[in-house]
Amino acid sequence: MQYTVTENRALTAQVFRLTLMGDTRTFTHPGQFAQVQVPGFYLRRPLSVYDWQPAEAGSMTLVYKVLGEGTRALAGIPKGAVLDVLPGLGNGFQPELAQAAKAKAPLLIGGGIGTPPLYGLCKALLRDGQTPAVVLGFGTAEEVILQDDFAALGVPVYVTTLDGSAGRKGFVTDAAETLAGSFDYVYTCGPEPMLKAVYGLCQRHDVDGQFSFEERMACGFGACMGCSCHTKYGSKRICKDGPVLLKEEIIW
């Protein structure tokens, strides 16, 4: 499907914010992702949706980091260009499952470029009358993104950096640990070592949660079995049955 670039600007030296106009009706949950065709590259790039206006002439915003050649080329795409994108992929975060668990005060933990999908989630949780708090972790102050976006939603935002150049020095779990007791559910997205640490946090404090994973993908819509992982309930495709897994099904 075709989308027009209405914004593609740098938030930091490496991170860009990309807004696309087009049909966004297939997005149903925050934490879903889109497969973006970068001209000149064979495979699409999976990027989580930061926020979206669901409509036939809708819009979606993605926030991405320049990692390799594909994202570098994406950063050079001008406003007005047309991109081929598959939207609405994956299960996304499912607050409805957390509500079944009667959670009210969720903690959102984002690491680096895992932060963006938590923004759409945070808005959804607020709409549902929950009272989320947010912990965001980065390497250094220059890498901090979206802090203001979350703050503008009126939720408490705790930033950590590995070198202490912004917020609290240390890992997201260090900050989260100090909040223990104040949250009854966790949503998290970030590099796998961070997810594992958050899993440990949840275990320690007997809190349930939802974890968003990454894997190398070909299709992104469940056809190729390229992205499978083991779970307690059998193998799952990160792209179709994920990227969000419930804590109870994760094998660690």
Binding site: R216, A218, C224
Partner: protein, 304 residues
């Protein structure tokens, strides 16, 4: 009106376009994108005797004009395919389907083939002797003429439906293997499976795929596939299903000129879920452009 029909072992297809095994699951994932009954047929995910998770991830790597996969035949096992996937498929696909049969021993091939042969929904058996992503089996059958013939003979003896043997391109002489399969009773041949390839990450300095190597497919391999289809189709009497990098209606025509009776589309489905629909829709126009009224007329045109 041009005529896009082709016939594979007595079963007529409305057009020659067939999604390739492993790139179309059991059809389910494409329903959101189009009505898959427009397809000639499709070849479902390679099925083994038992359930397999396949290889560790990463299983996917990108290449210039193509991709590597090292899925390693992940599938729910033939039992589950018969009790769950095929009944499910019957609710939305109303044509004979092609069953992709895999095994790690001749006995397993025979067992899987016989069970799928008994399914009314199955039109053809496609015996994959060429998967490069599994150790100690698969590939070994596809790289020796004797082994290829042995699998073919055993499967033929245990089944009634047309048997298409799917050949590996990672060989010195694909024609001799094709002929051995034909002599052993194959009703047709499918080629090519993926080429063995590799990528290394400059960041980690290690292979990208957990399995080190994987199967290379996509537009990059088209000239190699076309050459092999040309060589094999000219040398055998049974129909050849051509594949490898097919992405456009023009590619379909080129494959048929090389001698393919029908054409499979693999990786293209993964980067564009509408690929086969777009090819099928573009085919009549492409035929008209090149003055082709009846698709079967051009079969083997490049060597006739």
């Amino acid at each position: 009106m041009v005529d896009t029909r082709v016939t594979l072992s007595g079963i007529e297809l409305s057009n020659p376009v067939i999604p390739a095994s492993g790139t179309f699951g059991f059809g389910q994932e494409f329903r959101d994108y189009y009505d898959i009954n427009i397809l000639g047929t499709f070849s479902f995910k390679g099925t083994t005797g038992e359930e397999r998770f396949g290889n560790d991830t990463p299983r996917i790597a990108e290449c210039t004009a193509g991709m590597l996969n090292a899925v390693g035949l992940q599938n729910p096992g033939v039992e589950h395919v018969i009790t769950h996937e095929l009944p499910q498929l019957a609710t939305f696909f109303h044509k004979p389907v092609m069953a992709n049969v895999n095994g790690f021993s001749i006995e397993e091939y025979v067992r899987v083939a016989a069970m799928l042969d008994a399914q009314p929904a199955v039109g053809w058996l496609e015996v994959n002797i060429s998967c490069p992503n599994v150790h100690g089996g698969g590939m070994a059958f596809g790289t020796s003429a004797e082994n290829a013939a042995a699998v073919t003979r055993a499967v033929k003896a245990a089944t009634h439906k047309p048997v298409y043997v799917k050949l590996s391109p990672n060989v010195t002489d694909i024609v001799s293997i094709a002929k051995a399969c034909e002599d052993a009773g194959a009703d047709g041949l499918s080629l090519i499976n993926t080429l063995l390839g590799m990528r290394i990450s400059l960041r980690t300095q290690k292979p990208i795929l957990a399995n080190t190597m994987g199967g290379f497919s996509g537009p990059a391999i088209f000239p190699i596939a076309l050459r092999m289809v040309y060589q094999v189709a000219r040398a055998v009497k049974v129909p050849v299903i051509g594949m490898g990098g097919v992405t456009t209606a023009e590619d379909v025509l080129e494959m048929m000129l090389a001698g393919a009776t029908a054409v499979q589309v693999g990786a293209a489905n993964l980067v564009n879920p509408l690929a086969c629909k777009e090819i099928i829709e573009a085919l009549p126009q492409a035929m008209e452009k090149y003055g082709i009224q009846t698709l079967t007329d051009i079969f083997g045109g490049a060597w006739k």
